[in-house]
Symmetry: C2
Subunit: 330 residues, 2 copies
Amino acid sequence: MRADILALLRSMGEGYVSGEEIASRLGISRTAVWKHIQELREAGYEIESRSRNGYRLMGSPDRLLPAEIERHLQTEILGRHIVYSESTQSTNEDAKKLAAAGAADGTVVVTEFQGDGHGRLARGWFSPYGKGALFSVILRPQFALPQEAPKFTLLAAVAVVKAMKSCGVEAGIKWPNDVLIDGKKSTGILTEMSAAMECINYIVIGIGVNVNTDAADFPEEVRKKATSMKLAAGHSIDRARFVGELLNILERLLHQAQREGFAPILDAWRRDSITLGQDVRVIGMNEAVDATFEGRAVDIDAYGALLVDTPQGQRRVLAGDVSIRPQKKA
Amino acid sequence: MRADILALLRSMGEGYVSGEEIASRLGISRTAVWKHIQELREAGYEIESRSRNGYRLMGSPDRLLPAEIERHLQTEILGRHIVYSESTQSTNEDAKKLAAAGAADGTVVVTEFQGDGHGRLARGWFSPYGKGALFSVILRPQFALPQEAPKFTLLAAVAVVKAMKSCGVEAGIKWPNDVLIDGKKSTGILTEMSAAMECINYIVIGIGVNVNTDAADFPEEVRKKATSMKLAAGHSIDRARFVGELLNILERLLHQAQREGFAPILDAWRRDSITLGQDVRVIGMNEAVDATFEGRAVDIDAYGALLVDTPQGQRRVLAGDVSIRPQKKA
């Protein structure tokens, strides 16, 4: 109902709408209208009321409220159920619990602040209150093998780059899913799954984007390595619009993968990649990759693994830290 | 305390032990001893009491009670915490919930009856009350990639074959983890995991073995295809001893894999396999394998995938149904 009142206020633009009209259009009492307006105000909406004209929306809060995101959605599934909280420990942990309890495909968990956000390889991920786009999406892909899960994480990186582009910010992908702006880290993506050997029960894709983070928000030691969309664009970004657009793109890519397989997604990843063609240093994180080695990143394979040419032959990297080595001078 | 009293009674063999001695050895009151004895009797233990001699253990219930399994354990981790219930919907579902809530590495969930047991590919799995070995083990492997999870499921099949052998029952493995006795299905193994792209949070290995199932217990339509250890051995098997021995073997193999990698486990799998060297028909279950094809199963690779030689070249099977075709006559 609150979303309906908001939509009605928005449809009036600069104009007013009377409490009586709201009540009659939505089939509720004028007292109910008044209560909802009060609640919207408490949630941060600026709503002017004039005794003869009625109500007018003056401003929306800079929050990732479901109604704010939903305005921008063109999806069928993604974001059709949004769970919002002002702060939480980790949206991925929340989403995993919801998924285990049966939450629908496409459910989104979003917050303004994470107390215990984390990224790949159990690294911490910090974003100041109300400046990031911090959310997790629950996906229930059919006929997908656990071995295919890394492709979903590459897909998410492609979606982030496209959504940034729609806001005028150019970005590139460092394998597997670091989204860099001007060579600096802007985004963390953590994909988790519950799976049997032959099917994925559910995937949770957690995405944390530095949207309106200011330089002063970054801890001293990461300031040289991290940036935000705002810092790149030179102005604040509408966070709710960005999240909505990102969900739209994610769903479009997921539909494409379902229809045509992941090949076109992997091609899009290759186009956005800043890793391919570069000399890299790989630090193996587990037994599948032994220790550290260097070589040239030449491609990704059909499973999303990075292929690195080394003097000892081509190596396939499924997990690990890949840093791009400074270009040698000719 | 009940386990201590049981151990004391067992240590006496055919002899009696007085309530006074039990009380003094365990540092509890004689009333407490009496209460524990009553509880043990309610749990199904036959305990004789003679006014002058004391107590004597005459018989243990045919149940997979923690104390019964623990007697046979030589493990450090596996089965050191056992969650028992007379019946449950699914031990895998229970174990996944416990694991998500932080249950320790090696925790075992065991039951006499599953209301909603299921096997690979979401197929039903039925075992009559009190005749199977139905349990799930929670593992928290370190430094393991999700792509390596199938190897744990092959390891589990190897362990089941070894544990059956220790009971005098010969079995073989049909790829990936069907354990067959006399060519008939005896065991279901369902491995599930929670993972990020670069690490496994936890693995749950669910094992259901037809131990003392009688021919009449099998539904008519599966009688030709299913069997039990009892049917093969010609006598009942001590279920608690079998589960304890299976956990001992599982832990031994897991330690070996940790020390030496999975190569020796995969070799053991190859030795026990009845699929390799056979003409097979593969029914692909998802996009990674297209449709149905036939060929000769020649090996498994380092990730546990089945390698099948076909006229069109070698194919790698990660998931699907593999049936062995009848031998052609020479």
